[in-house]
Every structure is written in structure tokens, then in C-alpha cells.
């Protein structure tokens, strides 16, 4: 009986601590004049207009990234793929922000 109890406890601990948080399911892309809701389960490519021109983003297999943006330092493009709920990214010079939601947030914020 003790063995069964231990196995149940280990199983429960494994279930609780080794289950990854559910990834984001949607992203909101906001520009000075547009607000687009992206379904992260639907592969797509979108253009959004900012003061410097068009920023291009793509959704592939539950993740989203800036493909290109008319800013010079390319920080948004370098930030790569985003799939976690609560992740934020932006092209600041082009005033475009990306916020992922849905799913379950592992962290309230990321320090970077």
C-alpha cells in the first residue's frame, strides 16, 4: 500500500511540475491606425502599416515573428519567434506592438 501511495504521489508531482504551460493561442498586433487579432493556429503572413512603412509578420505553427520591418536596428526581427502567452515584442520606431495572449502564462514578465 505504501508503494502505491508513493507511486501516486510521484505521478502527481510529475504531472504538476513537468507539464509545460499551454502556449499562447492568439496575438494582438497594434499599429498607429490598425489593430489585428492573429489566430496562432492559422499560418499566415500580415502587413501592418506604421510611420516608417510596412512591418511584416508571419504566423507558423503556433508561433509569430517579425519577418521584416523598416527600422534600422532590427531589434524586433532579431527577437525571433514568440509563442509564450504574455510575450511582448515591438518595432518601436515603427510604433508596432505585438502581444501574445490565451494559453497559460508561465511568467508575469520577462527581464531582458
Amino acid at each position: 500500500m505504501l508503494l502505491i501511495v508513493l507511486l501516486v504521489a510521484i505521478g502527481a508531482l510529475f504531472r504538476v511540475y513537468w507539464t509545460p504551460p499551454r502556449p499562447a493561442t492568439e496575438a494582438v498586433l497594434t499599429g498607429p491606425q490598425q489593430r489585428l487579432a492573429l489566430d496562432l493556429n492559422r499560418n499566415t503572413q500580415v502587413h501592418i502599416h506604421g510611420p516608417l512603412g510596412d512591418s511584416v509578420l508571419e504566423v507558423v505553427d503556433g508561433a509569430v515573428r517579425f519577418v521584416s520591418s523598416p527600422c534600422r536596428h532590427q531589434i524586433c526581427v532579431r527577437s525571433g519567434w514568440h509563442r509564450s502567452a504574455g510575450a511582448v515584442a515591438a518595432c518601436v520606431p515603427n510604433r508596432i506592438s505585438l502581444v501574445l495572449s490565451g494559453g497559460e502564462r508561465e511568467f508575469d514578465a520577462i527581464s531582458y
Binding site: M1, A9, I75, A90, V99, E104, D108, S111
Partner: protein, 341 residues
């Protein structure tokens, strides 16, 4: 029968214990708002609803602080810098006075690792503005000249009305402390408006008030070199009034001939600081955390402990250029899942 009952009871107790330890899931109990200010995307998250009027106040305060501390445009700092291009003494507006005094002390505490007197060097590297972007390092003679003629804030004199530098031209850039100062001010504003549970995330630099629905705010620290699916260096609970700031070489940089030149300039050499990939600091003052993260990055592993001690920072974490992790005992006691090198 009795054994079965005892067994089931133990199972129930264990299950209850496990459930109590389970990390609380995050749902829609927090409201998020994003705004652009201080050259970054700022996210303010409040446990509960956000009052639109308070957000408008926060936006207005951030816009004012950006204007005040920007090296560009015609704000107070930009005008002061303009004067210092030709004169050793410039009038110091009352709105800048406390920030200058605090930054000078931080400069001294860090033994010059944090020094707003790098303004001309940062400008030469093109990291101060989108329009100054360059894809090659500045010519060495220009860098040497700028390094030789620069005035450190450590050596400048500040009184109630003015700041006096060693020699003109001089240019101050508070990019490594003004954001922290702004975060402190916005958090004070939120508290004054009765918000007791909130988090402000200024482009990855964070300060919190209170907690989130019966648990502490949970913060991840980005790994400077994500690999094998590992994107976080560590994670920790951050408590009321604490700020966590990270400086890294992975966001703003140029690559020339295969060499990465990042934006954290060592005031002593004029070149991007060597020896670190990322530096994270935990402190109650966001302004101090901001400056200390830069100083820690510049100090590198050899001087990290002494510089942090002099700056009054107990909890710090550094990833050196080889990817090795250095952390104070206070930080090790706070973080979970600290990545292996």
C-alpha cells in the same frame, strides 16, 4: 479494510499537498496596457481593472520624462548638452538636478563603470538614435579623440543651479539610469492612485507593487544565448517594491566582419564592454538597478562582486563572455532553475 482506508487518506493528504504547491495559473485576473515611451514598449499590468484616467496620467508622465531626459530634440537635457558643446558650465534645471546628483553618486559608487559622460561615444557608435545607425564601427582615431576629450560625470561638479565639466565639448546620456528613474516615478504615481498590485515592464526592465492574486509576481530572466529550447536563464518571485533590471549584448548591436559590437559602451575604453553577455540586478530602487546592471555588465566577472558591493546591490547575476554564470549568494537564494553554463 483499515489499511485501505489509511492508504486512501494518505493519498488524499498528498494530493492536497501537491495541489497547494502547484504554481498558480495565470488567467484574466490581470489587465494589461501597452504604450510607447522612453524609446521602448512599456507594459503596465494591474491585478484587476485599469482605470483609463490612471493610464492617461502614466502616459503623460512618461512622455514628460522622455522629453526631459532625451539626448535628442529640445528637452532640458538636450539643451544642457548643447551648452556643454562650447562651455564648461551649463545651467542645471531643477527638473534634472536630482537625477544628475543621483547619477553622479552611482558613477562614483561604480568607479566609473556606469557613467553618463559617455554621450559622445554612444553617439559616435550610433546607438543613441535610429537616424545615427551605422553598420561599421567608428574609425579608431575618432574614437580615441572622443575618449580623450570626454568629461566623466564622476568628475563634474554639481550645485543647485549648474553643472561644471572638465572641458567642453561634453555630452551626457542617461540611457542607463533615466528609464529606471522613470519606472520609479510611474510606480509612485500608481501607488498614489490607489493601485496596490501592479507590474511595470519597460522593455524588459521591471518593477512591481504588491502581488498577483495571492501569489508573488513571477519573473523570468532571459537567457542571453537561448539553446536547446532553453530560453530562460532563471526565474524568481519578485516582491512589493522590488525592481529587476537586465543589460545584455543581444538586442542592440551591429555586426562587422563577423564581430558583434553591442550598445553597452565601456566608459574607460570607448568600445563595447568585453567580458559579459548579460547582467541582472535586483534592488528596491529601479534607478539604482538600472545603473547597476550596466555597471555589472561593464565590470565583468573579475570585478563584479566588489562593484556590486560598492553600489549597495546584494542580489546580482552575471553571464560572462564564455557563458559561465556568476551570482551573489543573495541572488542564488532567490532564483529557481538557474541554468547550467
Amino acid at each position: 479494510m483499515k489499511q485501505t482506508f489509511i492508504g486512501l487518506a494518505l493519498c488524499a493528504i498528498l494530493a492536497w499537498g501537491v495541489w497547494q504547491q502547484r504554481p498558480a495559473p495565470t488567467h484574466s485576473d490581470v489587465t494589461h496596457r501597452e504604450l510607447f515611451a522612453l524609446g521602448t514598449l512599456i507594459q503596465i499590468s494591474v491585478a484587476g481593472d485599469i482605470d483609463a484616467a490612471v493610464m492617461n496620467q502614466a502616459q503623460a508622465a512618461l512622455n514628460m520624462l522622455e522629453q526631459r531626459w532625451s539626448v535628442l530634440g529640445d528637452g532640458e537635457l538636450a539643451q544642457l548638452n548643447q551648452t556643454l558643446q562650447t562651455q564648461a558650465r551649463a545651467a542645471l534645471p531643477t527638473t534634472l538636478h536630482d537625477g544628475f546628483v543621483a547619477a553622479r553618486q552611482l558613477c562614483l559608487d561604480s568607479d566609473g563603470r556606469f557613467d553618463p559622460g559617455v554621450g559622445d561615444l554612444v553617439r559616435l557608435w550610433g546607438f543613441d538614435d535610429e537616424d545615427h545607425f551605422r553598420d561599421t564601427p567608428p574609425p579608431t582615431p575618432q574614437l580615441k579623440a572622443a575618449l580623450q576629450q570626454r568629461s566623466s560625470l564622476c568628475d563634474s561638479a554639481i550645485d543647485a543651479q549648474s553643472v561644471v565639466v572638465d572641458q567642453p565639448p561634453a555630452r551626457f546620456d542617461f540611457g542607463a539610469s533615466a528609464k529606471g528613474r522613470a519606472v520609479d516615478e510611474v510606480m509612485s504615481l500608481l501607488r498614489a492612485e490607489g493601485i496596490n498590485n501592479a507590474i511595470i515592464n519597460a522593455g524588459g526592465d521591471i518593477k512591481v507593487i504588491g502581488q498577483r492574486a495571492q501569489r508573488a509576481w513571477r519573473i523570468g530572466i532571459r537567457h542571453p544565448r537561448p539553446h536547446d529550447g532553453r530560453t530562460m536563464l532563471a526565474s524568481l518571485n519578485v516582491h512589493d517594491g522590488e525592481a529587476i533590471f537586465t543589460s545584455g549584448d543581444y538586442e542592440r548591436f551591429l555586426i562587422h566582419d563577423g564581430v558583434r559590437y553591442h550598445h553597452i559602451i565601456d566608459p574607460r575604453t570607448g568600445y563595447p564592454a568585453q567580458g559579459s553577455q548579460s547582467a541582472t540586478v535586483l534592488h528596491s530602487s529601479a534607478e539604482r538597478a538600472d545603473a547597476a546592471a550596466t555597471a555589472l555588465f561593464v565590470a565583468g566577472p573579475t570585478d563584479a562582486a566588489s562593484v556590486m558591493q560598492n553600489m549597495g546591490v546584494e542580489a546580482w547575476l552575471l553571464v560572462d563572455a564564455n557563458g559561465d554564470i556568476h551570482a551573489s549568494d543573495a541572488m542564488r537564494a532567490r532564483v529557481d532553475d538557474l541554468a547550467a553554463p
